[in-house]
């Protein structure tokens, strides 16, 4: 199926025998998250600099230490919290997990962030960007070595709206995949123009026994079948 070839979903199996689907985050959204983190770090450093610069030599020394911590350990500290993401990543609903979907381990977080130096070569994340563009799971070098993935958090579920369409028993027995397709059409109905909805419903018209017909009436009957399949009864 071409859909499977095009998709970048990474499937991992848990000990409970459930396949979890991870959706790796691509270059652009990670770049925005990186920029945002950069801003956060600069702001933090500048805020700290004000009182510390009044403290003379010791303040400057402490400022150097904070600069070091922000440079290297800022991502590690945040990745090891329950959110598994730096504030910048959190804004874009990204998180860092292990390849198998488990929360990131301290060793892996350390490794992926220290190996950033290699990704940065030869200039401004050159190797990291090439690696992310070439790989389907968009890993940079540090991610490959540490065995980590940056993934999108699961999107919120889209419910099938309750419409005023009366439920209608399907005209023929439907295998599960077809049932799911009809219900998915109903779930998307509100996001489609009525013309496009009619076109799509025409393709599924056989479920309500309207093969070869099209139009708003057929669409209503197909959506009615979807309501029936969901479990609504007249």
């Amino acid at each position: 199926m071409t859909g499977e070839v095009l998709d970048t979903v990474v499937a991992t199996e848990t000990p409970e025998g459930i396949v979890l689907e991870l959706r790796p985050a691509g270059l652009s959204v990670r770049f925005y998250a990186f920029l945002l983190d950069l801003v956060f770090r600069l702001v933090a450093l500048n805020i700290l600099a004000v009182p510390l610069s009044l403290m003379g030599g010791m303040g400057v020394g402490v400022l150097f230490i904070f600069a070091f911590l922000l440079e290297w350990l800022y991502p590690v500290a945040f990745e090891l919290t329950r959110d598994g993401a730096t504030p910048g990543k959190r804004v874009f609903k990204l998180k860092v997990v292990m390849d198998n979907g488990l929360p990131i381990t301290p060793a892996a977080s350390m490794a992926r962030n220290l190996l950033r130096t290699a990704d940065f070569m030869p200039f401004f994340y050159g190797f990291g960007i090439v690696s992310m563009l070439l790989r389907r799971d968009a890993k940079r070098l540090g991610d490959i070595a540490a065995g980590t993935l940056v993934v999108h958090e699961q999107p919120a579920a889209q419910r099938v709206p309750m419409t005023d369409v009366p439920p209608l028993a399907p005209a023929m027995p439907l295998p599960p995949r077809d049932q799911a397709a009809v219900i998915a059409l109903a779930a998307r109905a509100s996001t489609l123009t009525s013309e496009r909805l009619d076109e799509l419903a025409a393709l599924a018209a056989s479920v309500s026994g309207d093969q070869g017909h099209r139009g708003p009436q057929v669409t209503r009957r197909v959506l009615g079948v979807a309501q029936w399949l969901l479990g609504h009864r007249a």
């Binding site: 409970e16 020394g61 190996l115």
Partner: protein, 328 residues
């Protein structure tokens, strides 16, 4: 069973797990998460297994996407929460320092030896070369930097090591942490380029240090220079060598993965190196503190500094050789 009926039957369990997970996430700062409320933890795992089953059923019966997505989100979240582990704390730190790090250092002895050689040979070669023809220092660094070294280690300076102006010990402490740990991280990360980056970084830093040492010895500043570097070198040079060794280990895994795939070998080597990097960071923190507050004290007679340096070197090597042999 229709999707709606399925949802009605199990809805309360999904809601219960959602709220339990939310409660757990809210208390993320507390340790002993699962032990604090044993009953609710048990409930979470029970519910989690149940909902895994629901998800499998829902997928098998091709229930609507919103239902499957909801169950997927819930299982993914529960999975993350249940398998989240806290491994911080003083106990873990103590074990890392007392056992894991020296053990890892001995396990990777061949990489450490190689890194030490790649670091030491350029140091010695450049040291001897520059000692015999000091003008060679100019092919290693700019005249300004060479002149800086002249000034820093001149025997008349009050504080040695860097040109000091005011209460600069703290400034230098921060500076050394940032600078030296950064160098160590480069030695490690260079390993990803088949180890070549690590070898180059080690050799370059060795050559640079050797050239400075040869130059200053020839200029008659041996006493100030060696008494300055001897103590913190015990921690700093060993740490740099270890960071390089970890990088070479990664590079070796890439070049000769053995019976594993290249990626799998790389991941295993990286995972094993992490413990070395923890040790490197601790050693460099110690080195920075010594370098800023002890090595630079110009009023201490060199004899005292050399004695302390000897103690430091002996304890570092002794620590690496002896610690962590006992079975757990």
């Amino acid at each position: 069973m229709t999707p709606l009926r399925f949802e009605q039957l199990h809805q309360h369990e999904w809601d219960e797990l959602t709220s339990l997970l939310a409660a757990m996430r809210g208390r993320k700062q507390q340790t002993g998460l699962l032990s604090a409320e044993g009953t609710s933890a048990e409930r979470v795992t029970t519910l989690y297994r149940k909902i895994c089953e629901h998800l499998a059923l829902a997928r098998e019966r091709a229930y609507p996407t919103y239902l499957i997505t909801r169950l997927e989100t819930l299982t993914a979240e529960a999975h993350q929460t249940i398998y989240y582990q806290r491994v911080f704390g003083l106990g873990a730190l103590r074990r890392m320092i007392m056992e894991d790090f020296p053990r890892a250092a001995r396990r990777d002895l061949r990489y450490v030896a190689l890194a030490a050689a790649v670091f030491a040979i350029p140091t010695i070669v450049l040291g001897v070369l520059v000692y015999h023809s000091p003008e060679l220092i100019l092919s290693m660094m700019s005249p300004e930097r060479a002149a800086d070294f002249d000034q820093m280690y001149s025997p008349t300076a009050r504080a040695v090591g860097r040109v000091r102006t005011a209460d600069t010990d703290w400034i230098m402490f921060g500076f050394y942490i940032r600078n030296n740990i950064g160098v160590a991280f480069q030695c490690f990360a260079g390993g990803l380029f088949a180890g070549v980056g690590s070898l180059l970084a080690l050799a370059y830093n060795g050559a640079d240090g050797g050239a400075v040492a040869g130059y200053l010895t020839q200029r008659g500043m041996a006493s100030t220079f060696y008494s300055f570097v001897a103590t913190h070198a015990a921690f700093e040079l060993t740490a740099i060598v270890f960071a390089g060794a970890a990088g070479i280990k990664i590079g070796h895994a890439l070049l000769a993965p053995g019976r594993r795939s290249r990626t799998a070998a790389l991941m295993a080597a990286t995972d094993e190196s992490a413990i070395i990097i923890y040790g490197v960071i601790v050693m460099l923190l110690i080195a920075a503190a010594i370098e800023a507050f002890w090595s630079s004290a110009g009023w201490l007679p060199p004899a005292v500094k050399y004695s302390v340096a000897a103690v430091c070197w002996t304890s570092v090597i002794g620590y690496l050789v002896i610690q962590g042999h006992r079975a757990r």
